[in-house]
C-alpha cells in the first residue's frame, strides 16, 4: 500500500530575468509502506525541491501528492505542517541540528510538533544510534558522524511513516557514510518507516536494493540531459 503517491507533479522557479524555469515534472512516483528507495540525482537536479514538495514545505504548481492518504494540494499550510509533523522524518545533508540545544533536546524538538515530548522515547532513539552517553552534549561538541546520527534519531522522533534523507552522507567520509546509511536503513526498518534517500554517491546507492534515477522520473532532466549522459548515469 503506498505511503506516497506523486502524479503529474510540476514545480518551476522564476529566474532573475523573470522567466519560468521548470525544475520538477514528474508524471508518476510511488513509495510503498516500509519500502526503502534510493533516488540518484546529480547536483542541481531538483532533489531537494522534490523532497521539499513531498514534505509540504514547498507547494507544487500542478499535480498531485498524496501522503499518508491525504492530498497535499487540498490542505492549508497549517494542515500541511501538521501532516509533515505527524508523518515525515527529514534527514538533511547539513544535519540542520539546533546548535543551542543539547542532543536530547534536538530529539525532543523533533517530536514536539507531533505527539508531544517523550523523553523516554528520545533516550531510546539515542541509544539506538549509540549516543545515549552524549545526550547532554551540544552538537558542536560532537564529531560530524555523531551529529548525523543525532539527525537520524531526530528524523525518527515523531515515529514517521516516511523518512526523507537528502544527501545524508554528503559531509562524511566513506566509512562513516556507509555506517550512517546502514543506520538509517536499520532504524527505518525497525520503526516500520518507508525511506526515500536521495544521493549522487555511488557507494551510498549500492547499499540499496531499489534505486531510481531522478533523471528517469523527472521529465525536465530527460529533456535537458543528452542520451549518452543518461546512459553514463545508469
Amino acid at each position: 500500500m503506498p505511503i506516497l503517491e506523486v502524479k503529474n507533479l510540476k514545480k518551476s522557479y522564476t529566474s532573475p530575468e523573470g522567466e519560468k524555469d521548470l525544475v520538477i515534472d514528474i508524471p508518476m512516483f510511488t513509495v510503498n509502506q516500509g519500502e526503502q528507495i534510493a533516488l540518484q540525482g546529480g547536483s542541481g537536479s531538483g532533489k531537494t525541491t522534490f523532497l521539499n514538495l513531498i514534505a509540504g514545505i514547498l507547494k507544487a504548481d500542478d499535480g498531485s501528492i498524496v501522503l499518508a492518504g491525504q492530498e497535499l494540494s487540498s490542505l492549508s499550510e497549517a494542515e500541511r505542517d501538521r501532516l509533515r509533523a505527524d508523518n515525515i522524518g527529514y534527514v538533511f545533508q547539513t544535519f540542520n541540528l539546533l546548535q543551542g540545544y543539547t542532543v536530547l533536546e534536538n530529539i525532543l524538538v523533533g517530536m514536539m510538533f507531533s505527539n508531544g515530548l517523550d523523553k523516554d522515547f528520545a533516550r531510546f532513539l539515542l541509544e539506538r544510534v549509540g549516543l545515549k552517553e552524549r545526550m547532554n552534549y551540544y552538537p558542536g561538541q560532537l564529531s560530524v558522524g555523531q551529529q548525523q546520527r543525532v539527525a537520524v534519531a531526530r528524523a525518527l522522533a515523531n515515529s514517521p511513516k516516511l523518512v526523507l534523507a537528502d544527501e545524508p552522507t554528503g559531509n562524511l567520509d566513506f566509512r562513516r557514510a556507509h555506517e550512517v546509511v546502514e543506520l538509517i536503513r536499520r532504524v527505518c526498518f525497525e520503526n516500520g518507516a518507508a525511506l526515500l534517500l536521495v544521493s549522487h554517491d555511488q557507494n551510498v546507492l549500492k547499499q540499496f536494493d531499489q534505486i531510481e534515477q531522478l533523471a528517469n522520473i523527472n521529465r525536465t532532466l530527460k529533456e535537458s540531459i543528452p542520451p549518452k549522459s543518461m546512459e553514463a548515469q545508469s
Binding site: 505542517d81 527529514y90 524538538v109
Partner: protein, 424 residues
C-alpha cells in the same frame, strides 16, 4: 498533543532562545527591571507620602497659631518642618481650651533643638490625653516615665533615641533655634526620663519637655503681654506674659471647625486656625501636582524605552535565527508556533524583568523611606500594597509581548526552503 506537552515545548524553545543570547537577554532584563521598579516606586512613594501628609497619624484636627500661613503652621507644628510664624498669647490657649466644642487643646512652645531635632515645650496632656491614632496614646518604653512639669526632664521620640544614642538617664543641653548651631548651646541641662514607643509619625523625631522649663531657659524672653518679660528663678510667671507657638486642637465635631474658622480666620486678626490639617496639606500637594505629572510622564517613557529594548534585543537576533526557524518549520512547526514562540520570548523577558523589578522597587523605596523618615518622620512601608505593584508588571508583560510582535512577524514570514541551505 496535550496542552502540557505544548507548553513544555514552548518553554523549551523560549528557554533555549533566551540562553543562546544570554548577554543581550540579561541587559534587557535589567533595563525592564529598572523601568518596572522605578515606575512602581514613583507611584507608591507618591501615594504613601500623600496619604502620610494628608491623613497620616496626626491626631489633631486643627492648629491655632500666629497670624500667617496655615501651611507654615501645619508644617511647623505637625511635621516639625519649616519655621514658626510667631507666637500667640497664653490667654488664647486658655480661652480655646475652655471652649466646650474643643475636646483637647495642647500648647506647643517651639524654638530649641538638640542636634537638629526639635524640642517642644508642652504639658503632660500630650501623654495623658492625646491620641495620635484612634485609641492609641504615646507609650513610654519600659524603664521610663513621662516628665515632671516642674523639673528639667525630657521624653524623647524613638527615632531620636536611635539616632543620638540618648536614653533614660542621659543628660543633654538644648541649642537655641530650630537649626543646630554649636555656638547656641543653652546652659540648662535636661535629663531624659523616658523614650517613647515608635509611632511611625513625625512625633518620633521630637523631644518633649515641660513648657514651664522652656519658658525658664536662659535667653528665652516672653512677650505675651506685649512687653519683654524674662522669668526669674523661684518666681511664678504671670499668665499674661506667657505665650505659645501654637495650640494643637482636637475638636468634638466638624461643625466646630467651621465655627472656629469663621471666628478666627475670617473675622479675627491676631491668629490663624489651620483646619482641617489634612486639607491644608492636600492643598500643598495640589500645588505641586505638576511635579507628580512629570514624574509619571518620565515613568511612562522609561516603560516604553524598556519595551523598545525588548524589541531591539529580539529583532537583532532574527537574522541569525532564520535557519533555526526554518529547521523548526521543516520539523512540523506552524508559522503561528514560531510567531507565538517569539511573542512568548518577549513576554518572558518582560516577566523576568518585572519580577526583578520588585527588588529594584524594594531598594528604591527603602532608600527613599530612610531619607523621608530622617527628614520628616513620615514612615514609608515597602510592603504596603499599591495597585501599581500589580498593574506595572502586567502592563510591562503586555507591552513586552507587543514589542515581540514585530520580530515575530519577521519569523512568521521566514521561508523554509531557502533557509534550509544548501539546496541541490
Amino acid at each position: 498533543m496535550s496542552y502540557f506537552g505544548t507548553l513544555a515545548g514552548f518553554i523549551l524553545l523560549v528557554r533555549r532562545s533566551l540562553s543562546q543570547h544570554a548577554l543581550s537577554t540579561l541587559v534587557t532584563v535589567v533595563s525592564v527591571a529598572l523601568a518596572s521598579g522605578l515606575v512602581m516606586s514613583i507611584f507608591s512613594i507618591k501615594t504613601q507620602t500623600y496619604n502620610a501628609f494628608t491623613g497620616g497619624p496626626v491626631g489633631f484636627d486643627a492648629v491655632l497659631g500666629a497670624k500667617g500661613s496655615q501651611l507654615q503652621l501645619v508644617l511647623n507644628t505637625v511635621f516639625h518642618l519649616e519655621t514658626s510664624p510667631g507666637n500667640i498669647p497664653w490667654i488664647m490657649y486658655q480661652t480655646i481650651q475652655k471652649d466646650p466644642s474643643v475636646e483637647l487643646a495642647v500648647p506647643y512652645a517651639l524654638g530649641d533643638n538638640y542636634r537638629g531635632f526639635r524640642i517642644v515645650g508642652t504639658t503632660g496632656k500630650i501623654f495623658t490625653d492625646f491620641q495620635y491614632q484612634k485609641g492609641r496614646k504615646f507609650q513610654v518604653q519600659p524603664g521610663g516615665r513621662s516628665f515632671d512639669p516642674e523639673r528639667r526632664e525630657a521624653v524623647i521620640g524613638s527615632f531620636i533615641a536611635q539616632k543620638t544614642g540618648l536614653n533614660v538617664g542621659s543628660k543633654f543641653n538644648p541649642y537655641h533655634g530650630l537649626v543646630f548651631d554649636e555656638k547656641m548651646r543653652h546652659a540648662e541641662e535636661y535629663e531624659v526620663v523616658g523614650v517613647l514607643e515608635p509611632t511611625n509619625s513625625p512625633s518620633d523625631r521630637v523631644i518633649w519637655v515641660p513648657i514651664e522649663g522652656f519658658y525658664r531657659t536662659t535667653g528665652h524672653v516672653l512677650r505675651g503681654a506685649g512687653e519683654i518679660y524674662e522669668p526669674k528663678p523661684g518666681e511664678e510667671i504671670p499668665d499674661e506674659h506667657k505665650e505659645v507657638s501654637a495650640v494643637m486642637l482636637k475638636l468634638k465635631n466638624p461643625q466646630t471647625g467651621f465655627m472656629l474658622d469663621q471666628t478666627i480666620n475670617k473675622q479675627g486678626k491676631v491668629a490663624t486656625l489651620a483646619w482641617p490639617i489634612g486639607q491644608v496639606m492636600a492643598e500643598l500637594f495640589d500645588k505641586i501636582g505638576w511635579v507628580n505629572s512629570i514624574l509619571a510622564l518620565v515613568a511612562y517613557i522609561v516603560v516604553f524605552v524598556a519595551a523598545g529594548s525588548i524589541l531591539a534585543s529580539i529583532y537583532n537576533t532574527m537574522n541569525e535565527k532564520k535557519r533555526e526557524f526554518a529547521i523548526l518549520r521543516a520539523l512540523g512547526a506552524r508559522r503561528t508556533t514560531v510567531f507565538s514562540t517569539i511573542v512568548l520570548e518577549a513576554a518572558s523577558i518582560a516577566a523576568i524583568g518585572s519580577v526583578c523589578g520588585y527588588a529594584v522597587y524594594a531598594a528604591i523605596l527603602s532608600g527613599v523611606a530612610i531619607i523621608i523618615r530622617a527628614q520628616t518622620g513620615v514612615v514609608l512601608d515597602v510592603l504596603q500594597f499599591h495597585p501599581a505593584l500589580v498593574l506595572t508588571p502586567v502592563i510591562m508583560i503586555i507591552l513586552g509581548a507587543l514589542a515581540g510582535v514585530i520580530p515575530a512577524l519577521k519569523a512568521y514570514s521566514t521561508d523554509v526552503a531557502t533557509n534550509l541551505a544548501p539546496t541541490s
